[in-house]
């Protein structure tokens, strides 16, 4: 039986969609069958991040309204076998779907056979829901069908504050024990004491950590091209997302060392005692 995960944040622009696309792609490349659901109705983005924007015929609202069957709205990813997208509608708003309907869709995804072969059987192992920013109906829709929740934040005061609010709301939605993803950490700034580090954020929010993603230009490049960064095996952000996918399936993967790229200048600084911690 598949499991539904939701990635949410409260604050916008912290990397929910990028995380959904990359963790999904990483799971698919490890042989799992994954459905990515864009719950950001009216502001859909997961399709462009995955490079599937030209292949949308039906969307989530069409399925809810009964204009098409669920399987017709699912788009097969061109690069990853076993990766599918259920796109959001672009012309509607969050009220086009209610939490009950969203829950039904997530449950249907657990039961749908996506095998192309006659007589074959292939079911989704993971359904990952990309939540919209905010705490209103879009958020409530996104979490309604979830079995596990992940909160993504950046090391900024505003994003961490919103993450704290989301933790409280997830508790109210009966999704306790969410796990944290810290995105866009800049090891150089952490070193000089100008950015909160992993420990700071984890202790403030008091939740378990799933993983940490360093700031990485490769994300911008990959998003420009419409492909997940994990394709790019040399990039640290891609490695971070792969590690998170492995932790989700239950593997023990240590946090990667983000200090490897320490520049000579920074090392000189810490030698001179400029290091603040």
């Amino acid at each position: 039986m598949g499991e539904t995960l939701v990635i949410t944040s409260g604050k916008g622009g912290v990397g929910k969609t990028t995380a959904v696309a990359n963790i999904g792609a990483a799971l698919a490349s490890r042989g799992y069958c994954v459905a990515l659901v864009d719950a950001d109705i009216g502001l859909r983005n997961l399709d462009v991040v995955l490079g599937l924007e030209n292949r949308i015929v039906y969307d989530l609202v069409d399925v809810v309204d009964g204009f098409c069957r669920l399987k017709q709205a699912l788009i097969k990813d061109k690069r990853h076998d076993g990766l599918y997208l259920l796109p959001a509608a672009q012309t509607k708003d969050k009220t086009a779907v209610n939490p009950e309907q969203m829950k039904r869709i997530c449950n249907q995804l657990k039961e749908i056979n996506v095998s192309d072969e006659a007589g074959g059987a292939k079911y989704f192992d993971y359904i990952i829901v990309d939540s919209p920013a905010g705490i209103e109906q879009g958020f409530k829709n996104a979490v309604s069908g979830a079995d596990r929740a992940f909160i993504i934040t950046t090391p900024e005061v505003s994003a961490v504050r919103d993450a704290d609010r989301i933790i409280g709301l997830l508790e109210a939605e009966e999704l306790p024990d969410p796990q944290l993803i810290i995105n866009r950490i800049r090891p150089g700034m952490v070193r000089t004491g100008d950015m909160m580090d992993i420990e700071d954020i984890v202790s403030i929010l008091a939740i378990r950590l799933l993983g940490v993603v360093p700031e990485d230009d490769a994300i911008v490049v990959a998003t420009n091209r419409g492909e997940p960064v994990i394709e790019n095996s040399g990039c640290t952000a891609g490695q971070a997302f792969t590690n998170m996918a492995r932790r989700i399936i239950g593997e023990e993967v240590p946090l990667m060392n983000l200090d490897v790229k320490e520049s000579l200048f920074a090392r000189l600084g810490s030698f001179l005692g400029l290091r603040q911690r």
Partner: protein, 90 residues
């Protein structure tokens, strides 16, 4: 940029400032009463206190005291009493 200034000043690293500000703002956020809690609480208070005294229900004010004090945050209820009841009604 911050490099030289840090060399010559005793300024706190900005991440410490961020942490302190966050902790303060979160301690307030977390005390926020979820919507739909205060009204039932008020009704329950009225019910219990009415057993002992007659109160002016329109003048009731129940809220959290947002001032940080040594004892932490407190619930403040201001309930105007009209008169004591001679005997308990229940």
């Amino acid at each position: 940029m911050g490099f030289l200034s840090r060399l010559f000043s005793r300024k706190k690293p900005s991440k410490e400032v961020a942490k302190e500000r966050l902790q303060l703002v979160l301690s307030h956020d977390r005390m926020d009463i979820p919507p739909g809690v205060l009204e039932p609480l008020k009704d329950d208070l009225i019910r219990v206190i009415s057993d002992y005294m007659e109160i002016d229900e329109s003048g009731i004010d129940v809220r959290f005291n947002n001032q940080d004090s040594e004892e932490g945050r407190s619930l403040v209820a201001s309930i105007p009493v009209v008169r004591m009841r001679r005997e308990r009604t229940r």
